[in-house]
Symmetry: C2
Subunit: 415 residues, 2 copies
Amino acid sequence: MTTGIRHDEMRKRNRALVIAAVRRADQPSRTEIARLTGLSHSTISAIASDLIEEGIMREIGQGEAAPARRGRPQVALGLDPEAATVVCLHLSFNSLSAVLVDYCGRVIDTKAHRLSTLTLSRQALLDAAVSAVREIACGREGFLRIAFAVQGITDAAGRQMLWSPITPHSDIAFGPELEAAFGVPVTVQNDCNMIAAALRWRNPERYRDNFIALLLSQGIGMGLMLNGQLFTGTHSSAGEFGHMIHRPDGALCRCGRRGCIEAYAGNYAIWRKAHGKSAMEKPIADIKAGEMEALAAMARRGDGPARQAFREAAEAIGIGIGSLFALIDPAPVAMVGQGTAAFDILEPEIRAALAQTAGGQHAEDVSFETWPDEVPFIQQGCAMTALTGLDWEVFGPGLRPGAGGRKPEDGRVVA
Amino acid sequence: MTTGIRHDEMRKRNRALVIAAVRRADQPSRTEIARLTGLSHSTISAIASDLIEEGIMREIGQGEAAPARRGRPQVALGLDPEAATVVCLHLSFNSLSAVLVDYCGRVIDTKAHRLSTLTLSRQALLDAAVSAVREIACGREGFLRIAFAVQGITDAAGRQMLWSPITPHSDIAFGPELEAAFGVPVTVQNDCNMIAAALRWRNPERYRDNFIALLLSQGIGMGLMLNGQLFTGTHSSAGEFGHMIHRPDGALCRCGRRGCIEAYAGNYAIWRKAHGKSAMEKPIADIKAGEMEALAAMARRGDGPARQAFREAAEAIGIGIGSLFALIDPAPVAMVGQGTAAFDILEPEIRAALAQTAGGQHAEDVSFETWPDEVPFIQQGCAMTALTGLDWEVFGPGLRPGAGGRKPEDGRVVA
DNA sequence: CCCATTTTTTCGAGCTTCGAAAAAAAGAAT
DNA sequence: ATTCTTTTTTTCGAAGCTCGAAAAAATGGG
């Protein structure tokens, strides 16, 4: 709370709240919106007719689930899918996918591209992003926003990619480049944060204020929701769980340092250990899912080096989670990505390691959910981030021109 | 944003904002409040006259720093010190202190008690807290709130102390006990979080949205400000930096586990190592400041075991900070407590360890501030927490009766 | 065909904020 | 001493928003 509330601000918030309620609930009636928001029926009626007139919302006849009840039937409301479209991009190792999404969150079109991220120049990566957007949006009326998810570290402001394992270039300014090309707001965010956003959207019962999304794959990524907000640090996107130190001066990590969690739990680390290589052996960029499956099968069969490799991976993850829990308290954990295919091997060892830590005091209460495929989460997280951003920034204030409003000067009040 | 804003809510927020502005600024005029809050002069005038009439604020003649300027002179405003008082308690090893603070944050009275926390019964500790409050408030008109800071882990709701190194008892319900005895709201919070609150209050330029307060003493404590809010977990107060795992299966910690950061960096760990004892030796509860000073002096003289002990402590702290930075991004760090007396020895080694971690990439940019005495911070943090709570909850809504207002039912909207 | 029931809209009342103008309070100028 | 200038503060009417009550709308039941 840093600046005073004026009248237009009140309307803006209540409009955004109504839009949010409609987006979340399944075709609610005005009465239901009133119940959800705590606003009066009169207010909902007024806001709803504004939104309908502006083409943001529409009436969808009687709701299907209209059980022959007495009285005037409820009118189901839904967001107008044609109110806007947004583009979601997802850049990962050798892959760039673009999705066009309507204002209801439905996918209109998808395009996937293969490209050699490790060898492309900085400008070629930027160009690839621009042309992917141009292609997906081709011929259709203007989209209002771009949400860009990258496998790597982004800056806290969501402007650029600072570092990524998929390319040798750093500080690639996707945000400004795309904004210059298309003239719409662009957010650049870490893919694991998008996974966290999607989890919250899908299951707010379980994933609400504080939770952790771990991506187990070639490397180890994390998305962190704290106090109901996606945590992005002051400079970078933070959340580098994989690069917490597990063993000082330990195994060689892909990032060039030693002893990181990832250097024990990433695909390359498991592969390296299972094949009897040195822990200082140079990490391999991309290990196929089939190969990891084979290692997991070996580990399930008996107590050989493969089993030992998964055991060390689980220990690193478990102790890491324990340290994280010590800092931020036990919270629901979602494990996503190809690495979860071996979760049956990992879980007991993760729990054993966790139980040894201060953060794991109540380890038996912690439950893990797993999903092998992270892509739908990333895409949905991007879409919801972009759309709820629109709800607030574009459609929240209404379309009346000249709202204006003063701004406080320097020296903001800290409450 | 989870519930609609009504008219009374708008006024409530703007009132609270005005109070916050007056509390923070040094006797501002109405014009200055308008500038700080972004609200119009008319609104400030109306709110100010309400607050003055209600006895929350008062006019303080012309501000002293009234430089003979043309025009009608500004009227300085200040909070009425008699509007309320709050009691701050601070329980630590063998010590319980109580402070009575007026609505302006000035200390009215202080009482310190010695007590043997390790041997007292659960009920005796509760009784001590109650009688400390009774004594400090004796004869004076009613205080409106109690803020209780404890050295230990509290629950996230701020109701009780879950665990503490200063007593064998756990789950001591100070909150309900004090509320039952005095009929005012009570918050129970971790002492390091209060240090963080005080830092933010004293220097919001440096300590605003994300920063870390580390307490170096017998143990290692942490207060964590994230996204501008004190982070308290879902169950406990979290922030157990000292119990992140530094070396799996490493030195014995006071908490009974092995390899915690504290088992290398707490006073007992340094003492143990410097005296050539085993890392599995049982930790000593309380090591005098003088003894630690002597060890530091020895370490400064040469490269003996004392030096090695401080080196290991610094490494544990540095790597811990690195892991923390990997998770939440580099942020300002404040080091508080008796352990900072040896910070000249610790700092280079902390930086060296930090520089090896992913979170320490820009370690040279990180600056540490140190203060040897944590007590004033804890007290001020308690006071400001309690007073700003009053600003909002008691004085924000105004004193007009029957404000009422509906509440949204279940199924809150998640935006 | 009328009544009961539920949803939605309408309408006036009550707050709140805002901008403009007026009032207040001082120094500067004559 | 009086008038002008400048700055702060208050006053007042206008506009916007939400709310509760009442009215209107839409449907099933008898």
